[in-house]
Every structure is written in C-alpha cells, then in structure tokens.
C-alpha cells in the first residue's frame, strides 16, 4: 500500500466516523442498481455507512453478498434481483423498497452492460452490441426514472445516474460506452428541469474508479495501472466506497438539497474540461 493511499484511508476512517456519527442519511431509503460489485457496491456501502437503509439490486446473487457486507457492519439492507432492462423488474424493486422500508428517497442507477469494458471499433461495431449497452444504460435509465418518480415525489427525493467522463469527451476505444453515458448526462439535465417543480432533484456522477473489471484488465496488462495512475493528478485510481460512494451519499443527502441537473466528475483531477 502506498503512503498516499494510507493517508487517504486514514482520512476516510475519520470521514466515515463523522458520517456515522452524524447519520447524514438517517431515515433515507436508497435503491442502488448494479450493486453486486464495483462502484454500485461502493455506493451501497457508503450510503449504509451514512445511515441509509439500502435496497441492493443486482441481476444475480452478488447483491446478497453486498447486503451481508452492510449487515455485518450494523447497517440495514435488503436485496432484490433486478435486471434493469426489464421494466417489470425495476417496478418490482421500487415496490419492494416501499414495502420493506416504507418509502424511497433516492434511486441510484449504476448498472452497466457486461460489455461495457470490451473495446470495439466504431466503424464496424454491430447494432447488437449497441443494444447491449443501450438496454442497460439508456433504456435502464428510462425504466428507473419512470418507476421511481412517484415515490421520489412523495419524499422530495433524488434520481442519480452513474455516467462517465467518456460520456463527456468520447472514447475512441469504447465508443458505445461513451455514447450511452452521454445520453444519461443529457437525461440528467432535462429531467432536472422537468422534475424540479415536483421537488425531485436529478444529478449525475461520473467516476474514475477501481472495479473488479479494471482489476482484471490490470492483471492482463501489467503496465496499465501505472499508465492510468500517471494520468491522474492525485496519483491513484478512485476506490468505489471512499472516493465515489461518499460523493453519491452527499448527493442523496439534504446537504445537496439545492444541487440538481449537475454531473459531478469524480476522477482525482483526471478530467477537468467541462
């Protein structure tokens, strides 16, 4: 472990203690899609650490693991199987949040396609591959927005879409990923305008984070991690819970009551052009 990371984790402990003490998200109910690992799990853990009751959704059993991690730390979580490409699944997940916890304060749509980190060429990539991206990120956002709006109006809640710097600047190697993330970014802006009069905030979060998929990429290419780190002014790749999850917790919290229509880029300074 590097010295800067040790310092960061120490600061994280202090921050986490404060979040726990203050219970920033006390009495808040947060639903996170794709929470069986990576950034989604990080957001679920961070929100739980801040006192939220968390509905952990995932396509498979990995959501159960996240739920156990939260409960093991004294938090409250409920796992629901959910494929965001299926409208019924998303509506059922929201219904579970209402049944188990009595309301919904935040819908965090984090799930992405399993194809999202597979390089492809814009010129000849297939519509089938685009569909794999769009069904989860673009149509999934539509499903999450429609399914949660009524509940969010009741609580004055918030919709958060996980996007990416690739959605802002484009990605030559992952064009469909960038396009789908760009669509989410505009959706954030328009829905913030459309839903603001109903008291619902809408924001985006664009992280650079170390996930299981990135770890696999590092194993396949020993120099990749160093190359990426060299591009990040803070010199490290974001950790899903302490670097990204707490920012999501902030956006969910009442501290962000006047923040809407924004995409927060959480990249250690890697991306500054907006």
């Amino acid at each position: 472990m590097t010295a800067p990371l040790k310092d960061k984790l120490l600061k994280d402990k202090l921050l986490k203690d404060k979040l726990l003490k203050d219970k920033l998200l006390k009495d808040k109910v947060v639903l996170v899609t794709g929470a069986g690992g990576g950034v989604g799990r990080g957001i679920a853990l961070a929100c739980a650490a801040a006192g939220a009751e968390v509905v952990v959704t995932a396509r498979g059993a990995s959501g159960d693991e996240t739920t156990e991690m939260i409960r093991a730390k004294g938090g409250s979580a409920h796992a629901v199987r959910c494929d965001v490409t299926d409208r019924d699944d998303v509506e059922r997940s929201v219904a579970e949040a209402l049944r188990v916890y009595g309301g919904l304060d935040a819908m965090v749509h984090n799930a992405t396609s399993r194809e999202s980190s597979q390089p492809h060429a814009l010129e000849d990539a297939s519509l089938e591959l685009w569909e794999a991206h769009a069904s989860v990120s673009v149509r999934g956002s539509f499903h999450c927005a429609q399914a949660s709006f009524g509940a969010l109006v009741e609580t004055g809640g918030t919709l958060i879409l996980l996007t990416s710097p690739a959605g802002i600047e484009g990605s030559a190697t992952l064009p469909f990923y960038g396009m789908s993330k760009a669509a989410q970014r505009a959706l954030v802006k328009s829905l913030a305008l459309e839903w603001g009069p109903s008291g619902v905030r809408v924001n985006g979060l664009a992280p650079l984070a170390r996930t299981e998929a990135l770890d696999r990429a590092f194993e396949a290419d020993e120099t990749l991690e160093a190359r990426i780190r060299s591009l990040v002014p803070l010199g490290r790749i974001g950790e899903p819970t302490v670097d990204v999850g707490y920012v999501a917790a902030f956006l969910v919290s009442d501290w962000a009551n006047y923040v809407s229509g924004q995409t927060l880029v959480v990249s250690g300074g890697r991306f500054t052009l907006l």
């Binding site: 814009l122 010129e123 396009m179 760009a182 305008l193």
Partner: protein
C-alpha cells in the same frame, strides 16, 4: 434527389434528413457552391437497419466516394414535447434510441465511402447542452449523437476526415407536425434584438464547416442559436 451534376470523379455531398426547410437549404447552398449534393431521407426511407442504410447510400451515391456528410435527421414527431412520465416504450424508442441507432448506421455507412480529407457535420438540437423539460428523451439522443461525432473525429482524423457538430434550436429540426414548438419561438430563441438562428444562417455555417477555411476544426460543437445559449 440530385441538386448538382458534375463529373463522376467528384465525391458526393450527402445530406441525410427528411426534406425540411433546413435540409433543403443545405442542399441548395452546397449545390450552389459546386458540390454534387444528394439527399437521403424522408418518407419511405428506413435508416434503422444496416442493409437499408447501405442501400440508401448506394442509390444516392452510386460509385462515388462521399466527400461530405451532413446529418440533420430526426424521425417525424420526435420533436413534439412530451413529459417523460407520459412516454411508453414505443414513444421512448422513437424519441431517443431510434435516433441514436440510425445516426450510428449512417456514420458507419458513410465511413465506408468517405474520401480522404472528407468532412462530416452533425446538425443536432441544442437541448442536449442545457437540457429541456418535455424533451428529455430527444435530448438524451442528441447528446449520444454528439458523443458519437467526437469519437468519429478522434478515430477518423488520421485519415484527414473532420467531424463537427452544429447545435441548433430544436424548432429548426422539427418537421411540420411539431406544431407545438413553432419555428420562430421556443425556449432557445434569442431575445428581441438578438440575431435569430435561421435555416439560411445554419446552412451557411454547415457550408463553412465543410470548406477549407475550417480545416483546423474537428470534434467541435458550434452553437448556432443567435446567442441564446452560451456554454461554459
């Protein structure tokens, strides 16, 4: 529809879009500047399947390379404002995903024919830059289109192909059925006294972008709305 005839070695300048006033003006201005301007789009055109798009290009261009691609297309009715909560799956697809799919297929088909030094201009609604209530689905599509253009600019620049975006008030792209938006009003219209965005002005800008005077521009978004929207 051919607007100008020239020798067969001259690359085609392809304008994709239903025959709206803007598309017609772009075709006219390109033709008047010596381009071999042809159009793809309108009733009967299917831009939602790779083979169909390929056939459109083959029919419009024949054996010619593509020197210029201007994409200014939206499906009929897509520009009509509708709250997101009022959209069903079909309405969402019409206003968002079908637009992204067809733009992708058009860019891919054009790339197979693009001549070295060619130029691509995407004309997209400015609603993706700041968002627009009632047009959330279309704004999402527009930002995906803009991202696609940036990727194309990055990837095709090595072959001398430039790709830029002209961002316009949505009313300029809507068809005649989009009566709720009007053509002279709307949320991005300039205040009285400010220069208006007109089809003629936008067509001028498109022609400028495909010309040699813009050879250093690629991956850019130019907002052509008379100053209503000033992006950071």
């Amino acid at each position: 529809m051919e607007h100008h005839f020239d020798d067969l070695d001259q690359p085609a300048s392809v304008v994709v879009g239903a025959p709206s006033p803007l598309v017609q003006e772009i075709l006219t201005q390109l033709g008047s500047r010596g381009h071999h301007a042809v159009s793809i789009g309108g009733a009967g055109f299917n831009l939602d399947h790779p083979d169909a798009v390929e056939e459109c290009f083959a029919e419009a261009c024949g054996d010619r390379r593509v020197g210029v691609l201007v994409h200014a297309d939206i499906p009929p009715g897509a520009a009509q404002p509708r709250a997101l909560m009022d959209l069903d799956d079909k309405g969402w697809d019409l206003r968002c995903e079908s637009i992204i799919r067809s733009t992708l297929l058009v860019f891919q088909a054009a790339h197979r024919r693009l001549a070295a030094g060619g130029s691509v201009v995407l004309v997209a609604p400015s609603i993706s830059l700041g968002g627009e209530a009632g047009l959330a689905a279309w704004s999402a599509a527009a930002e995906a289109q803009r991202n696609l253009a940036k990727v194309a600019a990055r990837r095709w620049g090595g072959a001398g192909v430039r790709v830029n975006v002209v961002s316009v008030p949505p009313a300029l792209l809507g068809d005649d059925s989009d009566t709720e938006m009007g053509r002279d009003s709307g949320p991005t219209s300039p205040a009285p006294g400010e220069p208006a965005a007109t089809v003629s002005a936008v067509a001028d800008l498109v022609c400028m972008l495909v010309g040699p005077e813009s050879r250093s521009l690629t991956g850019s978004t130019l907002v052509a709305d008379g100053g209503s929207l000033m992006v950071p």
